[in-house]
């Protein structure tokens, strides 16, 4: 299972970074999304991988570490909000700058 989880995390983060390096805003947003999925899985795995163990300390000795699960919940919520924001921003940039290239430069920087 460790092998599978590690491969998935690596795949997600690798694809995310690959998409982030594109020059259009939509792939960049998708890249951020994949990156945050990969990172969330990584945080989840930080407490060690367990099968058939509840993340509840009160339930007795065989339990999964509950803290990373609580952390990843927070991280998912924050990541969701941030993705929504960057999506709106990309749309606004598309309408205001007339292009979805992230490195778009217009002639207003002349002195």
């Amino acid at each position: 299972m460790e092998w599978l989880v590690a491969t998935m995390i690596g795949l997600l983060i690798g694809c995310g970074i690959c998409l982030l390096l594109r020059s259009r805003s939509f792939p960049v947003v998708l890249g951020l999304l994949l990156l945050s999925y990969g990172v969330n899985l990584f945080v989840f795995a930080a407490g060690g991988l367990h099968v058939d163990q509840p993340p509840l300390i009160a339930s007795g000795p065989p339990y999964a570490d509950p803290l990373p699960q609580a952390l990843v919940l927070t991280a998912i919520v924050i990541g969701f909000a941030m993705t929504a924001f960057v999506l709106m921003l990309a749309l606004r940039a598309l309408s205001e700058l007339g292009s979805d290239r992230v490195d778009e430069r217009q002639g207003d920087e002349e002195s």
Binding site: L35, F42, G79, M82, F85, D108
Partner: protein, 528 residues
């Protein structure tokens, strides 16, 4: 020392921000009143914490009564109180400036401003690595909104880069925090300080990788090259009070870096950080100083130039921190107060100059702005302070940093020639840059057709000086002579702060004091 009133500066901006969000249709004067009230409350609470911690006590409180290391703790030592006071001062001045009319150019300015304060206060008070991440996100999302305030293509473009880079930074932050958790089983800073010293070599390497990832993230926030590209366009595009408030955002990165470094267990060398850390920080400092001063010299706008000066000051601060000695850190903290207030004041001054001039803040010969008689002395004051000329506080801070790094020469790595060259060279370059800017903006006027030009100027510029804006700007710039006059008590305070920060014993003891004696859950904090 337990302090139940510790969450107060955190909750007030949150409550007022939510109130302002609901009351977005309230008249602007009411919003301004509520906003100023909130900011003054933060300032008052910060001053209170400053007084409480001045004797060396570390205040700590566990939110909801949940004991550390699993519960959320707020901790306030001298360093936190100092940063909070700085936030309060800067926030008050920026809000005063915005109340001159800039807050009318978009919606929700005051609500976002309160949330920004909430995030800043939280970052300085939190005693937990994950909550540091959460408060980073809070202050970042407020800063995205503030940066976009007023709209326009330039802001949108700068904001897109700023947001994407910071989101990548957030992902790296989570990776780093997860690595540290995997290695140590805790995210509580005080707990980390204890456990980092007891790791097996394999776990220590894992934690080290996490620490370096976090260092990268904080370097991104602090705009250290090569991670600085987002910073200058964003700061130059933001409206003046927002850019002024952002002057402390880069220092947040530095503060987090300092907290992280103070956790690293003492290897017994007795002369600050380990040699490799010193070299890493020195390299970053020299690189930042070089890039910042070259950028400042090459700028074609005053706003851009001040953005590069902010970056340059980050380098100078790192140079003071690099040796890891109390003297160096104390000098850097003194310089931090100085540079935050002065660069913020200069951002506002640049906006005042741009408003009074047909050419904006572009560094070309045009007509001097209206009210140049008021603006020129202020610019002179700011220029002397930021370049580090005697007799103002910039000189004192830089001189102290130089002396402090030289003291290290006997015991630690010989980094001082690098730092001396960078700091002294950059002072000269900055002096060149700001005097050129001052001459072009405020002194020389176009020779021919000057009458026609000044008529056009009078039409083109928006309005006269708004009084709150002028008060805010001069208050910030007046900080430099004040910092000089009260240098005695201030330097002894920063020295005490530096000693407390580097020796994390009191911090750990304060958080450990929150743990109830009979707690079975805590004994199981180690997860494996």
């Amino acid at each position: 020392m337990n302090a139940p009133s510790l969450p107060l500066p955190l909750l007030l901006p949150l409550a007022l921000g939510a109130l302002l969000l609901i009351g977005a249709r309230l008249p602007l004067s009411v919003q301004r009143f509520i906003g100023l009230l909130g900011t003054l409350c933060v300032l008052a609470a910060a001053l209170d914490l400053l007084a409480l911690t001045a004797q060396g006590d570390v205040l700590a409180t566990a939110i909801g009564g949940w004991p550390p290391p699993l519960g959320i703790v707020l901790v306030c030592d001298r360093l936190s109180a100092l940063m909070l006071t700085l936030t309060g001062l800067l926030g008050t001045a920026a809000l005063l400036y915005a109340s001159g009319g800039l807050d009318a150019s978009g919606r929700h300015f005051h609500a976002l401003f309160q949330f920004q304060l909430f995030g800043l206060v939280g970052t300085f008070l939190t005693g937990d690595l994950f909550n540091l991440f959460v408060f980073f996100e809070v202050l970042l999302i407020a800063s995205y909104g503030l940066l976009m305030h007023g709209g326009g293509p330039a802001r949108t473009r700068a904001a897109l880069h700023y947001v994407v880079l910071n989101l990548v930074g957030s992902s790296l932050f989570l990776l780093g925090a997860a690595l540290i958790y995997a290695a140590t089983g805790t995210l509580n800073l005080a707990d980390l300080a204890v456990r980092l010293g007891q790791l097996t070599p394999a776990d220590a390497r894992l934690a080290g990788a996490g620490g370096l990832l976090l260092f990268t993230v904080f370097a991104l926030k602090a705009a250290l090259p090569p991670l600085h590209a987002w910073m200058v366009p964003a700061y130059a595009a933001a409206s003046a009070p927002v850019a002024a408030l952002f002057a402390i955002l880069t220092k947040v990165g530095l503060y987090a870096m300092l907290r992280l470094l103070s956790l690293v267990p003492d290897t017994g060398s007795g002369s600050g950080f380990a040699g490799s850390t010193t070299w890493l920080l020195t390299g970053a400092a020299v690189l930042t100083i070089t890039a910042g001063s070259l950028g400042a010299l090459a700028s074609t706008r005053l706003g851009t130039m001040i953005g590069y000066l902010v970056m340059l000051s980050m380098g100078t601060l790192l140079a003071g921190i690099a040796p890891g000695t109390a003297q160096g850190l104390a000098a850097a903290l003194y310089y931090l107060v100085h540079t935050t207030l002065i660069t913020a004041g200069l951002f506002m001054l640049a906006d005042l100059v741009a408003n009074g001039r047909a050419q904006g803040d572009r560094l070309i010969i045009g007509d001097p702005p209206r009210d140049a008689r008021i603006l020129a002395p202020l610019f002179l004051l700011g220029a002397i302070a930021i370049a580090g000329l005697p007799p103002l506080s910039g000189f004192l801070g830089k001189a102290w940093i130089l002396i402090a790094v030289q003291d290290l020469a006997a015991t630690g790595p010989a980094v001082w020639p690098w730092i001396w060259a960078a700091v002294l060279g950059s002072s000269f370059v900055v002096l060149l840059g700001v005097s050129r800017a001052g001459v072009l903006l405020l002194w020389r006027r176009r020779g021919s057709a000057s009458r026609q030009g000044s008529a056009a100027n009078a039409v083109a510029c928006r309005s006269g000086l708004a009084r709150p804006a002028l008060v805010g700007t001069s208050a910030l710039l007046a900080a430099s002579p004040l910092l000089m006059m009260f240098a005695g008590p201030l330097t002894s305070f920063t020295l005490a702060t530096a000693r407390q920060t580097l020796d994390n014993g009191e911090y750990v003891a304060a958080v450990a004091g929150l743990v109830p004696r009979t707690s079975a859950v805590n004994e199981e904090g180690a997860h494996r």
